[in-house]
Amino acid sequence: MGKEILSMQNITKVYPNGIVANNRVNFSITKGEIHALVGENGAGKSTLMKILFGLENPEEGEILLDGRKLSITSPNVAILNGIGMVHQHFMLVPSLTVAENIVLGSEPRKGKLFLDMDKAIIMAEDLAEKYNFDIDVRAHVKDIPVGTKQKVEILKALLRGAEILILDEPTAVLTPQETEELFKELIILKEKGHTIIFISHKLHEVKHFCDRITIMRNGRSMGVYNTKDVSEEDISRLMVGRDVILTVTKNKAQPKEVVLKVRNLTFVNEFGKKALDDISFSVRNGEILGVAGVEGNGQRELVETITGLLKCGKNKILIEGKDISVLGIKELRDLGISHIPEDRMTYGVAENLTIEQNLISNTYDKKELNNGFLMDMKKIIDTTVDLVKDYRIKCNSPKQTVKMLSGGNIQKVVVAREFATEPKLLVADQPTRGIDVGATEFIRTKLVELRDDDSAVLLVSADLNEVMELSDSLIVMFEGKIVAYFEDTDKITEEELGLYMLGVRKQTNEEIGGVVYE
């Protein structure tokens, strides 16, 4: 065990709305370890790390770096002291290129005055190559998929060569292969003497790669453990305070009629690239069809065309026999479509509105919530209070703005809203991203319940574990095409799936055609 290099003592943080996010928390790390920080949604992990990185100021407590007392008043101070952080909600500038984002704040210069863009590109490319990330550094961030954005975030922190690297859920959108790759690098860093703080809700990662774990609950630290001394079950019990079942039990699906019919769907994006290439499949009620694939292989476009965010051609997508190309999103939703979007902060919520206002965005105009000209405020309060309770959204009251929620709780708001309408078709893009183990269990169970209540579910996820566990059948996407279809998810292995996802293998057209049911 190395020596302690950083210690946070008695940290108390009260947000302006009176929420106590950290309550006399002690946290310390030793040189050269990978230290996991886990806890339920809203436990105060991000807050603690934001304090360490200078984004928030604590009311009480002190931070010692190498035994020296340090007051971290801004990220700049943190960076100067060798602390780097990867935020989960992206801290990227959309209109700038990947390379520009990576070098931002420590730009290479030509002479004294000018920006050396060529050098920046080379630096970014080298870095990406070194970590085996496949990124076009000249692309604009606004055009790249979430998974790539995540990689850019990681590269940003790595470029600065932080001694202490904080990673706030970096793996939520990575494939197992990419996660593996990342950890290889992290271990190299660790061997070079860097120290890593790692936040994740994926306990097997924690168990696999980390040396020690600090567990947080309700703003307090529940203690520090050596990873080898605790099992995944122990960790989740310490986090949640009860036993958590990590796998969902579900009966065999009873699929009935086709609800969603996608036929020969092609989508060309702004740059003239075929993001979707002649895709056909069907989803029936009573089944969950999983879509596996590495981010950026057309999943986002697929989801967005089905849910109406992107327009598609005539007779390409039919829901219960209706051509959706002529329908607006409103009409689609009225047909019974729900949608959990990939990017919760952009599409999923209006962060400055209250939880209540966010929870009714798909039902506000329904008869139940209206009394003639006016909305039925009492009814709205009742339904939202119920949802907050059901989905265990951690907040003071539903009148609190969404912005003040922790990442996982924001996700719960989205999920609660989209589930509550008991949709005919649910298009779920990574529904449990960033959600803690306890809540994940709950949401997965709910999803299966929805299925059993005859909803059709299209589940997109980069979390192989999740797709494999939840889906009844599965398709794999690669470069805008469907490359494989498995009627029964139980019959495949993760490794096999990985080969399809990386485009190494491809099924015959007949095999893939199985998902059309005609």
Partner: protein
């Protein structure tokens, strides 16, 4: 109609377009820098007024037009600083801060004018100076071109150079990159150690300096005195020009020029038999039409891509 064509194709008209464009261009560039840093500067109008007065007062006092210009730029920068203080430190809504500064500038300039010139309307009693005009060596010789482009006020050329400088600054320097990052996602900039507030201070002050040059041009080039409320809405036109130019330096330059063109046209058209009120609307209608064409071209491009999919 022939008369109209004669007017438009005369060299003096081309010359007038450039002359009319100058103050708008300066202020629009000021608006651009602030906008790119995410801090909308509504106070351009007031800034121009303050600088126009400062230039006159200081040039009269020192008997140096250049010191007057410098003072005008400093004054503009100070107004920018004030706006920054209000909006970034006191956290007053920036639009409201801007409106308040305009209010204060319109009253304050008259107040100061009265103190120094004993006049509530115009500074003509002060022996203020104007900035020189510049004969462009070779271009001067070319027939029509020379008449249009040569012999403008030094600040007119400065405004054109400013377009280039702003362009280089924004896209080719580290600070420019920071400005763009701060404007688009301050959290992101903050997270890589950029001091958002400092960048925004810088942007507002620079914005003020640029608007200040526009103000100096008004009182030390365009005309040779300061008069109450002499900017007459040019600060707002500049805001419009910048927004219409898509917040890019070249776009802003073109839209400022478009506005200058329309304005010059309306100044020249009164000899035709159209009611004055109609002619006075020309610059504004031209701006709206220009805006729609510009914006609809963008949507058309997107539609075209969508067409291809089908």
């Amino acid at each position: 109609m022939n008369q109209l064509i004669d007017i438009i194709f005369s060299a003096s008209f081309g010359y007038a377009v450039i002359r009319v464009t100058t103050p708008i261009l300066f202020a629009a560039l000021g608006s651009l820098i602030a906008d790119r840093a995410g801090v909308i500067n509504i106070a351009l109008e007031g800034t121009m007024l303050v600088s126009a007065l400062t230039g006159v007062a200081i040039s009269a006092y020192t008997q140096s037009a250049w010191i007057g210009l410098l003072a005008a730029m400093i004054a503009g920068g100070l107004v920018g600083l004030l706006l920054a203080y209000f909006s970034l430190n006191l956290k007053t809504d920036i639009v409201l801060s801007g409106i308040a500064i305009n209010l204060m500038a319109s009253g304050g300039t008259v107040f100061v004018l009265y103190l120094i010139a004993k006049d509530r309307g115009i500074s003509s009693s002060l022996p203020s100076l104007v900035l020189p005009k510049i004969q462009l060596p070779l271009i001067d010789q070319i027939p029509v071109i020379g008449a249009i482009f040569s012999n403008h006020n030094v600040l007119t050329y400065a405004s054109l150079i400013a377009v280039l400088i702003v362009y280089i600054f924004l896209y080719k320097t580290p600070l420019g990159l920071k400005v763009r990052a701060v404007g688009e996602n301050p959290d992101a900039a903050d997270s890589v150690g950029i001091s958002v507030i400092r960048v925004q201070y810088f942007a507002l002050i620079t914005s003020g300096v640029l608007a200040g040059m526009g103000g100096a041009y008004m009182s030390m080039g365009y005309v040779s005195w300061f008069a109450k409320n002499m900017t007459a809405g040019r600060g707002f036109i500049a805001l419009a020009a910048e927004a219409m130019g898509g917040a890019s330096p070249v776009g802003t330059f073109l839209t400022s020029l478009l506005f200058g063109f329309a304005d010059a046209l309306s100044n020249n058209l009164q000899s035709l038999s159209v009611p004055a009120e109609f002619i006075q609307t020309i610059p504004y209608i031209a701006t709206i039409v220009g805006l729609v064409i510009y914006a609809s071209r963008k949507t058309a491009q997107i539609n075209k891509i969508k067409q291809q999919e089908k």
